[in-house]
């Protein structure tokens, strides 16, 4: 079992004929994801990797019944691509693209408030329900099916933790990277809620980093609403203030958003916070017995 993506996923790839988009489409198909369509304006009618290409997401939805979209288009076209997907009736939109201007995302998120679509990302690795579907760019082989739900602001750091879990034979229900930007579509709390409700997730791992207050808000939510145990890791204990650490969202501003305050907030509500990424797996193992 899983959340958000699985056997019912009918995926359309926006930007399927681009280099990255095409490479990862192939990887997703190999993993068993049901890729039903691609979109590249102007290339409608072509085929790639056995997948029909359309000019618009609307056609992909109408013709192929796509319900999930993954976006690989360049940053300056990504906001438009997200809105196109939502407007076409796509239910789950996963935006991999990095570097979208934050005010574009402010407009997109306000637009999405009026729609039924859920956005994951942008600037994220996507999500995977091991053994069911992969909608993202993560290396598939490190995952295995299981009962740990994982949610993270990071990409490769997530892989690190997944690898550690799998090494200890702890499989994952779904692993989600929600993205490292200041404005993202789905936040920690949204995902915690889904994991709490998912009967096949028994333990949740939350991977945070400096910047903003998303981890502190997650801690409040965990205290009030989570019955399942949560284990965490927070990156950036050595990050200096005022400098953006790669992710547009990872910046300590006005003394706010430090790793220390996030760790304190999580530990205060009973979340075990690991010192090293690999330690996360050990803590989960100990908790699950």
């Amino acid at each position: 079992m899983s959340i958000l993506v699985g056997k019912d996923t009918r995926l359309v790839v926006q930007g399927i004929t681009g280099r990255e988009g095409n490479f990862h489409t192939q990887q997703m198909i190999e993993y068993g994801t049901n890729v039903v369509a691609g979109v590249t304006p102007g290339k409608g009618g072509e085929w790639t990797l056995g997948v029909p290409v359309f000019d618009t997401v609307k056609e992909a939805v109408e013709t192929q019944g796509a319900n999930t979209s993954i976006i690989y288009v360049p940053a300056r076209f990504a906001a438009d691509a997200i809105m196109e997907a939502a407007d076409a009736g796509i239910e789950l939109i996963v935006c991999i693209t990095e570097g979208i201007p934050v005010l574009d995302m402010a407009r997109v998120r306000t637009f999405l408030d009026q729609k039924d679509a859920r956005l994951i990302g942008p600037n994220c690795p996507g999500l995977i329900s091991p053994g069911e579907a992969k909608v993202g760019i993560m290396p598939a082989h490190i995952h295995k099916p299981g009962k740990v739900g994982l949610v993270s602001r990071s990409g490769t750091l997530t892989y690190e933790v997944v690898q550690a879990l799998t090494d200890l034979d702890l499989g994952q229900s779904t692993a989600i990277g929600i993205g490292g930007d200041p404005i993202i579509g789905t936040n920690f709390i949204d995902v915690l809620k889904l994991f709490e409700a998912d009967p096949d997730t028994e333990h949740v791992v939350l991977i945070g980093e400096i910047g903003g207050t998303a981890e502190q808000k997650a801690a409040e939510y965990i205290a009030k609403h989570m019955s399942k145990p949560v284990t965490s890791f927070i990156a950036g204990r050595t990050a200096p203030p005022g400098k953006r650490m790669g992710h547009a969202g990872a910046i300590i501003q006005g003394g706010e958003g430090t790793a220390a305050e996030k760790i304190a907030a999580l530990e205060a509500v009973g979340v075990k916070v690991a010192t090293l990424p690999t330690e996360v797996a050990e803590l989960v193992k100990a908790s699950m017995g």
Binding site: E20, H24, A75, R76, E98, I100, P101, V102, L103, D104, M105, A106, R107, R109, T110, F111, P125, I137, M138, P139, I142, S152, R153, S154, G155, T156, L157, T158, Y159, E160, Q163, G180, P182, I183, I207, E209, I210, T213, A214, F233, A235, G236, R237, T238, A239, P240, K243, R244, M245, G246, A248, G249, A250, G254, E256, A259, T275, L276, P277, T278
Partner: protein, 380 residues
């Protein structure tokens, strides 16, 4: 990207925000000439891209042109938190009756721009937030609707403004919002916005931070970039499309992914050393980019060992391995290094490194410990 006070205020002025008359000087003589032109009392303000210049003595009043020259003489060339003052802004001194704080930032949680305002201006808003949080007003703006007059009026009344100040404030708040939006800013701040003795509002100090991701559509703003803003190595990294932040330690780090890069820094510290930098080579980096990244790391004389940590997703292990070897051909160095490659094409990557006798580790923990030991001269 950070803008100087004088740059920020000039942008605000383009949107109808009243600012003091003033000009920028790079020599004491220029400062004197500007003070003569302005007449009356002036304030001479160092233009550096760090906070706390007031406390550091970088802002001084001058009663006449001769004083302005003397004060500029002192301030120009001054070192403020490691930055040398190269420019001063000479502004007409305002007759200040009240100081207001007015700023706009992006509120991540509600994903909208939000006005932050306080009638207790003139000090850092973080201090007001800590000591008197009730004195801070938050007003979110719908980015699709834009700022409406009624919102600006509500803000004005909440700040305790009355009479003719209301309409002045509405114009300023709407102008500041438009400047924020049209510049793709992540911060636009007037502090203080003062009420003068003549009953006028005046933006005495200003600050803007711009969204780096949006600079491609603002070549005019990009052109305002000051080399002071960033270290030389940071500039080279930015131009190469790398995320790089210079730090003070001895272990150079090259990682793919920002979260993993931070975690790698943390692990270096955990094993008893300090990271020399944050460096994210980004997704899908090619050999040439890896080589540039390595050159940047090795240009830092403090670096005693280099740690590569690559968990391939978009990025491929073989590309990174080739990049490392290519860079080492160009940059001959004795600095010891260790690589940890996993994920996409990890086998190919490791084979390439092994063939070149390049040390590698199987886990991040092991790699970090090897790097720390190398830096301490315990291994080579």
């Amino acid at each position: 990207m950070k803008l100087h006070e004088y740059q920020s205020k000039r942008i605000f002025a383009q949107y109808g925000v009243p600012i003091p008359n003033g000009e920028v000087a790079t020599t004491p003589a220029e400062a004197k000439a500007i003070a003569e032109k302005l007449g009356g009392r002036v304030v001479v303000k160092s233009q550096v891209l760090v906070g706390g210049r007031g406390k550091a003595g970088g802002v001084k009043l001058a009663n006449n042109p001769a004083e302005a020259e003397a004060v500029a003489q002192k301030i120009l060339g001054m070192d403020i938190k490691g930055l040398t003052v190269e420019k001063v802004l000479v502004d007409e001194a305002a007759d200040i009756k009240q100081e207001i704080y007015l700023g706009i930032v992006i509120d991540r949680a509600i994903h909208k721009p939000v006005f932050i305002a306080s009638s207790e201006g003139g000090v850092e808003i973080e201090i007001v937030a800590k000591e008197n949080p009730d004195a801070i007003i938050h007003l979110p703006i719908d980015p699709l609707l834009g700022m409406q007059d009624f919102q600006a009026r509500n803000l004005a009344f909440d700040l305790g403004l009355r009479g003719k100040l209301i309409n002045q404030f509405v114009k300023i708040a709407k102008g500041l919002y438009q400047a924020f939006i049209n510049s793709d800013a992540s911060l636009a701040e007037i502090n203080p916005l003062v009420v003068t003795g003549e009953g006028k509002l005046l933006a005495v100090d200003g600050k803007m931070l711009l969204d780096d991701n949006a600079l491609y559509r603002h070549p005019d703003l990009e052109a305002m970039r000051d080399r002071q803003e960033e270290d030389e190595s940071e500039r080279i990294a930015r131009e190469a499309g790398l995320s790089f932040v210079k730090l003070d330690g001895e272990i150079g780090c090259m990682v793919n992914g920002a979260g993993l890069a931070m975690a790698t820094m943390d692990i270096v510290k955990h094993y008893g050393a300090e990271p020399a930098n944050f460096l994210d080579i980004g997704g899908g980096a090619k050999a040439e980019k890896v080589a540039t990244a390595l050159r940047i790391i090795l240009a830092d004389p403090k670096v005693k060992a280099v740690l590569f940590n690559i968990f391939g997703g978009i990025t491929r292990g073989d590309e990174v391995a080739n990049g490392i070897l290519q860079a080492l051909e160009e940059v001959k160095t004795d600095i010891p290094m260790v690589a940890r490659l996993v994920g996409t094409n990890e086998a190919e990557g490791r084979a390439i490194l092994q063939a070149a006798n390049f040390p590698s580790a199987s886990s991040l923990g092991e790699a970090a410990q090897m790097a720390v030991a190398m830096a301490k001269g315990e291994q080579a």
